[in-house]
């Protein structure tokens, strides 16, 4: 078989592990002396937690957050024993012993989970956990009423070793949104009841709301992977992913030729088209149809018509044909067109561009830390 998988891949996704580590260090320095964790849920936002998390550990990160217990179990295998792995989605009924077995820290989201974890902590004589207080998302976490009841009872000896008290901001990417201050005030008030426990409120965008949002621990995710934590301002983060799609075919077309499903694009002039082996089955969202673009030979080339399941068509009429040949590539994500730009064309956020990145892409990683 063709020796190099890159020769037959329909698309190549390059992930810059050194860039992720650099982004983490940038944020860690910004919040010093507050501790900086890393959120690597959803397979490190689609980029591969098995490689991303060790690169962050090598950069100095000691606390990691995932969404599910299965993600935590997978991460346990690739991280140093000293690294703390916390699971946002909390305890499902009957899973407490598994958390202990795999050395995972549950984020406890309701009084039932706290009670279950107390029992487990008594049985196993250990039980680190994070308490999640909801201050305005109404998604996960104790209500303020539930938290008050819990805090009233907290003078009794508690078998749970509380690793942190956390909450999550709903509008941190909109600095002027009044809910930011409301959530901050609720969190400060609640924290007084558990003042001996490290507190954490800010994720990526929250870090940029200012030091009063930092408390003892910040938890960036998206910013590590190049999403701008301050929409509308210059992006301080490095772009982490480059994606290039394979050109399968070049064709000359006449004026009036329709392109793709629904014949939704009609050529206003004769032109040259390049068909690329990336489609919405690769997570290149179909909502980018008619808006997207690529780059080849240094020039922007517009996406024509609808994204197909496995294919897209670009207008390469304006590009020197020497740069556009079957087997070559069109760049889909690059330093001038990052995940936020793609998100704008798709009507979504950079986070979804990342987590949708496809299974058929050949993934290559650069900048992995040296093995000790």
């Amino acid at each position: 078989m063709t020796g190099n998988p890159a020769d037959r891949a329909g698309a190549i996704l390059e992930v810059d592990l050194a860039g992720i580590a650099a982004n983490w260090r940038l944020l860690a320095r910004r919040v010093e002396p507050v501790e900086c964790a890393a959120v690597v849920k959803a397979d490190a936002y689609g980029l591969g937690a098995a490689l991303v998390a060790p690169a962050l550990a090598a950069a100095g990160c000691r606390r990691f957050f995932v969404a599910t217990m299965d993600e935590g179990i997978a991460l346990r295998r690739v991280l140093p024993e000293a690294a703390e792995i916390a699971v946002f989605n909390g305890l499902l009924p009957g899973c407490a012993d598994d958390f202990i077995e795999f050395g995972l820290v549950p984020v406890l989201n309701d009084p039932g989970q706290v009670a279950d974890w107390r029992s487990a902590a008594l049985r196993h004589r250990k039980g680190p956990a994070i308490l999640h207080l909801d201050t305005g998302m109404a998604r996960l976490g104790l209500t303020l009423r539930e938290f008050d009841r819990l805090a009233d009872a907290s003078c009794r000896p508690d078998p749970i070793r509380w690793r942190a008290l956390i909450s999550h901001l709903a509008c941190s990417d909109e600095p002027e949104h009044p809910l930011n201050r409301t959530q901050l005030e609720r969190f400060i008030a609640a924290r007084r009841c558990l003042s001996h426990v490290p507190a954490s409120l800010a994720a990526s965008s929250g870090i940029f709301l200012g030091p009063e949002f930092h408390f003892d621990l910040v938890r960036p995710g998206a910013a590590l992977y190049g999403v701008n934590p301050q929409p509308g301002c210059p992006n301080p983060m490095r772009q982490i992913v480059r994606l290039k799609g394979r050109i399968l075919q070049i064709r000359e077309v006449d004026r009036g030729q329709s392109v793709g499903y629904g014949a939704s694009h009609v050529m206003a002039a004769p032109g040259r088209l390049a068909t690329v082996a990336v489609g919405y089955a690769d997570g290149w969202l179909r909502s980018v149809s008619q808006h997207g673009s690529g780059r080849v030979g240094g020039k922007r080339v517009p996406l024509l018509g609808r994204v197909s399941m496995d294919l897209m068509v670009f207008d390469v009429s304006g590009v020197d044909p020497a740069f556009v040949r079957p087997g070559g590539f069109i760049e889909l994500l690059h330093e001038e067109y990052g995940v936020d730009a793609a998100a704008a064309d798709a009507g979504t956020i950079g986070y979804e561009i990342l987590t949708a990145l496809g299974r058929r892409y050949l993934r290559t990683y650069s900048g992995a830390p040296r093995q000790c």
Copy 2:
């Protein structure tokens, strides 16, 4: 560890293999005596080609289509030797020998690919291939001019064993679109030049345009997996997937409480919310925000606010609390709300709902054919 993975999965996706086989048989009977192939590209539209394709083979299907060579290689391992596996994306430069080695049939999309395959066929003394003529998509396939030149030269002995002449309809889901008849007429005219080769024009929706579109072979994909091939008419296909998301937490909220990112939903009255462990990182498209719904206790429950990366929140105020408990489920895809309904809420097509189905779902398969 908890014995049953279903106890800790954030969501469970049930795939009905018997239903896929039944859908294939329905279409095969409809087109008799024309042959019916199956399109299993993009991992059988996200459902798992390694299980779906053998189920179709057991139902009688003998010809399969994938998008990429890698998909073809993977399929070769699970299908009987007699099954034909064709690769839509065609020959990449330098890959001809791999097609021969793995017994794959390339769909040849341009004159360069035809020339490359002729050389390979001479070298290996075999060389089955499918010729793809573009009749109006401008995506893959020979132009009419290229096809005419090829047909003129076809009186010479040809080492390629042509398995089919195919084309693809751009607007087959819109029966009244004039491009359907234009493409049909172009295909009929071209076919005269290669009258000894089986011809194929129709995919799922094309089958329902009538017998004149059937020729010698039809190639359904989406309809096998429950997508309605005739949008706007009753769906003749069985629903194939059921998806249920785990309830992580129930909360009582007051009037005025905002829900989720951006505080985009505000409760008009007190209510009860259920947070479910499915988000856009699971391919539950973020564009469904504010439109989607689930079902629990037999009742429709609206999605509130924005879909998060790993979570969604539903308003379960109207449901008997006995049906809604942490660890239980909310149905996201079911017999009354299939992939087309979800697509309508997400502003896309059922195809994308299928191919986006998430990696974190626990997948269960029913109705697998008995091993001989």
